[in-house]
Point group: C2
């Protein structure tokens, strides 16, 4: 772990990330010793910093620190966290704070191979997402809703939980975005009220469009999912997980858009290259 560029694992307890969740993070796959989709993650981090009024750390410096942290590891998870930094008591952000940046490497998660094919079991969480437009789309550090939702189940055969907002709109998984395929069109929940706008989600939309598959961002309800031909989840570590079963509803694996998956997985786990 590197804190503001230096090896270490301690931060000030006055850090506003700790006191108020006042910050953002990115989670990247490391493949072949290189972070994947670097530019897209940096774009999102910069957008988040701009929306929260936090100074974006220098990208080249972050990449240098990421490579130092990765060292000789070929495969892993790189987490980059940026908080508003240390501050006094009170919600008001300091005018000229010095952000804290933390770059750390974790082992690759041991997800069962069958979660990628034929797919996962998905449950529906009781914990709802609140609707806060000012925070919608951001991967910020206020994650208690996800913590409570993820604490709802212990069954290791269930890979993910689906979260709805307080108006019964389907939004996302606890850690992944959702897509639904129906009659040749791809749907994904609109995220202007809540939810995290995933880097993989944007990639799916780009790749699907390039493959001639229309993608619609709109409000979706449970009935829309139940009447879909296929569902799948995406994030930077899982790539694509088809949904084999959601509660009692089983999905036909042959209706999954396999051509789309292949390209998404190829692009998601390509490591650094000239394109990203």
């Amino acid at each position: 772990m590197r804190i503001n560029g230096k090896p270490g694992n301690l931060i000030s307890a006055t850090d506003r990330g700790f006191q108020y969740g006042d910050g953002l993070f990115e989670t990247l796959a490391v493949v072949g010793g290189e972070p994947c989709l670097w530019a897209a993650h940096m774009e999102r981090l910069e957008t988040g910093c701009r929306r929260l009024g936090i100074s974006m750390p220098d990208r080249d410096g972050l990449l240098r620190e990421a490579r130092q942290e990765i060292g000789g590891e070929q495969h892993g998870v790189l987490k980059i966290l940026v908080s508003r930094g240390a501050g006094g008591r009170g919600y008001r952000p300091p005018r000229r704070g010095t952000p804290t940046r933390i770059v750390s490497l974790f082992p690759w998660p041991d997800y069962p191979q069958q979660w990628s094919d034929p797919g996962i079991r998905l449950r529906v969480c009781r914990t709802r997402l609140g609707t806060t437009p000012a925070l919608a789309g951001l991967k910020h550090l206020n994650r208690l809703e996800q913590v409570l939702a993820r604490a709802e189940w212990d069954d290791p055969s269930i890979a993910e939980g689906l979260m709805l907002d307080t108006a019964d709109r389907v939004i996302e998984g606890t850690m992944a975005n959702l897509f639904a395929l129906r009659e040749g069109r791809l749907y994904t929940p609109a995220l202007q009220r809540c939810g995290v706008a995933g880097v993989l989600r944007a990639l799916v939309m780009e790749v699907a469009a390039a493959q001639g598959l229309a993608v619609l961002e709109q409000d979706l309800e449970m009935a829309d999912l139940l009447h879909s031909d296929a569902l799948f989840l995406t994030n930077s570590l899982i790539g694509v997980w088809p949904v084999r079963q959601m509660e009692d509803r089983h999905f036909n694996p042959r209706l999954q858009p396999r051509t789309l998956w292949r390209e998404i997985r190829g692009r998601a786990f390509a490591g650094m290259n000239t394109r990203n």
Copy 2:
């Protein structure tokens, strides 16, 4: 500052309080060298710990640490923070985590005397509160909405900002609860969808009832406030702040419930005694 009972100011960057805002806090007035409303703050902390599934620290131990931290100071602000403690990557809370507890003393805030009488100027914030019943009422560490709301104004003559939820219900200030007096009845926003259930808020409800003043917890809108005779804000540090002016609406200071204030302030700043 004391971290798990020992003087220090550094925590692990893997603390879930930092990674996810996975924790709670209390802010207490220190008067005459003693924390005020101790029992009520401990009750709320324990309720929060139970709802989040965090082990409540031992109360006597916390009081011992609070007194060590206060030392010889007569007047100040005591902040007690309890997080779920260190953990790995991922939202899922560990089954048997060891919570982190932080006890720290801050200087008494230098609020102008006239904010207590005749009262404050209150603005209305653009940032809205999301509605998350699972978190409603708790003083948890997910405070980005308050941070963004408090960043909306710089004018030092405005003491506080009023926050509405996404359905236009009035909820609270960025750091204080709200009461409205109308035709001899006291109203305060219901907090089952969002908001922090303040220790002072509960005290006001108790004292008002004892004084024969009916208190109604219900949904309120801006129109209800504009048609009120008096508004006031409460928290453990400010005690009571009457609202002199909210945006363009001026309130007649003679309509404020001064008998109620006096008793609330007396009880709020009494220090430790047999009653609390």
